[in-house]
């Protein structure tokens, strides 16, 4: 059980941006972007050594500004995007850019971890995803499972679809859409659906969730008042194409079937403050991770609406092996939707949670005070799902 203990890593700066290195499937690696107005911001590359339960970090300088959002390319593990705020002429503007990590970051940091802060390497800028006319960028999304050539940025009330050319050094807007309506509409977040051949996008603005068709750049559905207050995050079920989870300031996590948008399929109300982040496990979509400003991370088991509603199929010879325990199993199944664990290692608001891209049983959470916690799915549950 000792390896179930959380591994904690402290950053020097406050941070909100966390992502798993999507293209990396061997090492368990997370990227954290810091927020500091006074010092140079950094991107921490957190490598988790599963066997030794150790963390190795590398630091890259990100001197463009404080990082609000970070996302790794699905194709090239050295490429990532950040949304950062830039202060110019006493104006704060959030911009987005595509970066490449310097090739030697890995070796350099490992050799001399002590003076990594003294002489950190700088990210290599590939291109800006800038269009000042469109205003501040809320987030940048890579095409899921794509070739790392297509991006979407959400800026104010615009959806911009970018094509990266010339080995990502040039970005051009291939198409765009604008959300029109009364009042100041502003996208808060979005998610590119991995289904439907990556032609769909879901965005959140205020309390509404909208679906977009990227081919026609038009809205396909809109869940008005999806949450009582601001919608903070979205995630698509990786295995069920119409299912979507959302979370928001009403402390709720809601599950939607986008074909029936009048009512949520399910609603969880476990957090005692705003829920900032929601993530489906990439392989076992009954596992759901949520992070909230009540400083808690909750891992839930949503069996009833998962793609494996009754757990993994039990092999027949397993059944014949132990008849009496079969009765017991039958009594337990179907599994109830339940909270598996509440993680209270954080002292401040948790703004981001992320599953590891390499190990489906591992996840990281980041709180504002710069504390990164790596946790595992409890072993009992893991075996329950696997066996």
């Amino acid at each position: 059980m000792e390896d179930d203990a959380p591994v904690i890593y402290g950053l020097e700066f406050q941070a909100r941006a966390l992502t798993a290195q999507t293209a990396e499937t061997d090492a368990i690696r997370f990227l954290v972007g810091t927020q500091s107005l006074k010092f140079d911001n950094q991107i921490h590359i957190i490598d988790f050594d599963d066997e030794n339960n150790m963390i190795n970090k590398s630091v890259l300088l990100h001197d463009a500004g404080e990082i609000w959002h970070i996302n790794g390319s699905p194709a090239d593990k050295a490429v990532l995007t950040t949304c950062y705020s830039k202060t110019s002429e006493s104006r704060v503007l959030t911009c987005a850019a595509v970066w490449r990590m310097p090739p030697e970051w890995e070796s350099g940091s490992h050799e001399s971890p002590d003076d990594s802060s003294n002489n950190p390497q700088t990210l290599e800028l590939l291109c800006h995803l800038d269009n000042t006319a469109h205003g501040s960028v809320a987030c940048v999304l890579w095409e899921p499972m794509g070739d790392g050539k297509r991006l979407i940025s959400l800026a104010e009330n615009h959806v911009l679809l970018w094509d990266l050319q010339e080995s990502s050094t040039k970005a051009t807007i291939s198409s765009s859409a604008t959300l029109e309506g009364k009042g100041q509409l502003k996208f808060t977040t979005g998610k590119w659906s991995p289904h439907h051949n990556s032609t769909q996008l879901a965005t959140a603005n205020d309390t509404a969730i909208r679906g977009w068709d990227l081919r026609s750049m038009s809205q396909i559905y809109c869940i008005e008042n999806a949450h009582g207050q601001l919608v903070r995050d979205l995630d698509f079920n990786p295995n069920k194409q119409y299912y979507l989870a959302s979370c928001g300031d009403d402390c709720k996590v809601k599950f939607w079937d986008v074909r029936h948008i009048n009512e949520p399929v399910k609603c969880l109300e476990e957090h005692s403050h705003w829920v900032w982040s929601v993530r489906y496990n990439h392989s076992h979509d009954q596992l759901l991770l949520t992070g909230s400003s009540d400083s808690r991370v909750i891992l839930s088991n949503m069996v009833s609406i998962s793609s494996e509603p009754f757990g993994h199929l039990v092999d027949d010879d397993d059944l014949s092996d132990n008849e009496e325990s079969q009765q017991e199993d039958k009594g337990k199944e179907p599994l109830q939707d339940s909270i598996i664990a509440t993680y209270e290692e954080h002292e401040d608001s948790v703004y981001a949670v992320e599953w590891s891209a390499a190990d489906p049983w591992l996840f990281a959470s980041l709180s504002y005070d710069g504390r990164l916690v790596i946790n595992r799915v409890p072993r009992a549950l893991k075996y329950r799902i696997l066996l």
């Binding site: 006074k38 202060t87 006493s90 104006r91 009403d250 009540d294 002292e347 608001s349 005070d369």
Partner: protein, 823 residues
Amino acid sequence: MSSDTTPPDSDPKGQRRVHNMLKLYYGLNEEGKVADQAESLDPCDINGLHFDPDVYLNKLRKECSLGELMDHESCMVKQIRSLDSDMQTLVYENYNKFISATDTIRKMKNDFKKMEDEMDCLSANMTAITEFSARISGTLQDQHAQITKLSGVHTLLRKLQFLFELPARLNKCLELQAYAQAVSAHRRARCVLQQYSHMPSFRGIQDDCHVIMEQLAQQLRQKFRDGGSSAKDLSECVELLLQLDEPAEELCDKFLSHAQSRLEVDLQGLEAELKDSAVSDTGRGSVQKTSPGSNPVSPSSSSVNNPFLSPTAGTDILEFIDRGCNEFVSSLCLVIASYQELFINRPQEGEFASKNIPEMANGKLHVFVDTLAARYFSLVERRIQEEKGVSDNSLLVRALDRFHRRLQAISKLLPGSAVPSHGTEIVVRAARERIKQYLSALQTFYHDSLTDVRQALAAPRLAVGGASASGGGASSKDDTPSLPELLASLSNFILNQLKSVLASVHLFTAKDITFSNKPYFKGEFCSQGVREGLVVSFIKFICQSSRQYCESTGDRGGSTPPALLLLLSRLCLDYETSTISYILTLTDEQFLVQHHTPVTPVTALCAEAREAAQKLLNHYVKVQGLIISQMLRKSVETRDWVNTIEPRNVRAVMKRVVEDTTSIDVQVGLLYEEGVRKAHSSDSSKRTFSVYSSSRQQIRYAPSYTPSAPMDTNLLSNIHKLFSERIDIFSPVEFNKVSVLTGIIKISLKTFLECVRLRTFGRYGLQQIQVDCHYLQMYLWRFVSDENLVHFLLDEIVGSAAHRCLDPSPMEQSVIEVICERG
């Protein structure tokens, strides 16, 4: 001599032996006797049987002296002499008796001789008498036979005369309509006529009679068919026809069909009334189809019967049932009674009828009664269903009682009938229906009163706000009622309504109501119907609808006024503490509920109410917190914090927040107790805050300017967090004012914090936040249970703002204080 006194014994030994054996057998073994016998064996015993003179003499001689012998001898001589004289006397006496006997016999002989002679004489006389008598009877015999014959002829002639006169008599009877006489006359003659029908004269008479009787039967049938005849006439008719050998089955049918037609009229009258009332009640077109061929009598009869009723009012149910009872049920009873008289209870003398008539007739009667009663019941049920208004239950109960009571008559008349039990079922159904209606009425009442409360709240909310804004604590005692008054009146309204409903329902179980002692009304009605179906359901409904307020209001929180949530929460809490148990005790007492079936326990209801109260209060906190949060969030999000000017005032939003919090405080204080807070001194707020703002803040900010130790910025707050308890923002609150206010303030400040963290501040932006936080600190501490909580959260806000500040140079504490004092 001695042989005379002692009878000779041929075999004395053998006899004695037998004697002894018998004696032995019978247990008569007397000692004395045995001794005697033993003694008597002694040959020396002079009185014994075995006396041997020689032995005796020898013995005497051997034993006695001479003197003794002499004495003995003289004694012996004396004895012998006396014995001799005795014997002589006896012989003489016997002789005398013998002589007298011989005399008597001789005398008797003479007497018998005389008697024999007289007997001879008597027998001779008797013979003579017999002879004479025989002679007389022989002479009289002829005349006797003649007389007998003559008397026979006389009777026959009389009968014949009756027969000859019969047609005329029958005709006369027919004219006089004395049907009964005619029928009985004809019945007497019928057999004779039948027997002698081969003789032409008789045949003529028979034919005449037949014709007349046919006519009579015709007339009777006619009369029978005529509607107008009374039941008594009718029964007479039926009786006569039966005697005329009409088939009983046919008669039954006819009788019943006739009765049916009359009862139909009653039913149609009822139905018409039903339609009338339906039309006048609903005011729109009649729902029931009025068939064009309907009896034209019925509407007129109804209007004739109820001339005093205005047609628009419609008859009430009691009148309706009354009419049904008086007209339909009583005629039905009459029909049953006369039918039974005619066909069923007829004594078995009727050899002309086959034996199974009573059974057949009974069967027919049952079918008849059942069909008619079914129609009647359907009418009654329709009428009952129309009884929707719940204002006056006594009328319905009385009507049902009457209905039920009258049906008992049928059950008495017709013991096996299912009609009364059907009637009871109707009553039970009506009662059930009633309970449902009452429940829904209560529910609508509850909703209505809530709507009233809502409207009342809409006005005073402003007033309360104004009052609190102007001066603080005092609630506005204007013409609009305050929250506690509203609560009290709402609670009273509901309780009174419930009580009155209970009283109404209680009528069903009143002692003088006939159906109240039916098992349903004793058991199930009380426990399942009233307690569970009405009271418990209503309480559950209150909780349910309260919970709905928490859910349906949506998260925007706009639709339900928060004051209503607060009010309802208090209402539910009151229910939990006292009202529920009061109501249930009241119900149990009133209805003497014996719980055969499991019922909802009081504790479960209380728990439900408490849960509802908690939910409502939580929701209230959430809604109020949200309203304030929204203000704070807008104020943070819409401002350009980088390019703001130097703060001169507390922002208006903050004043608004404090005002709103104060008014919420007043509002909650009206309904909930103060609650406990952690000990603090009255002016502690300022001191702590000044410490916090001046010294601590400087400690916190100072190191942040030195780039060498960036971690230190977080150190203090982290340490603080380590030792302070985790704050659950949207956590359940307790049922008191302080807890509620703490909840609201927590939510608001946390929102403030999160919003601040999303922004970037310039120097003056930070200073403005400082001013705002100080202002909040000055006013908010008094509302919460633990002022450190406010300190901590405000600390966090200022700290976060400092972090998000491009040029963090905090304002002087004294300046902040001056600005805040200024207002």
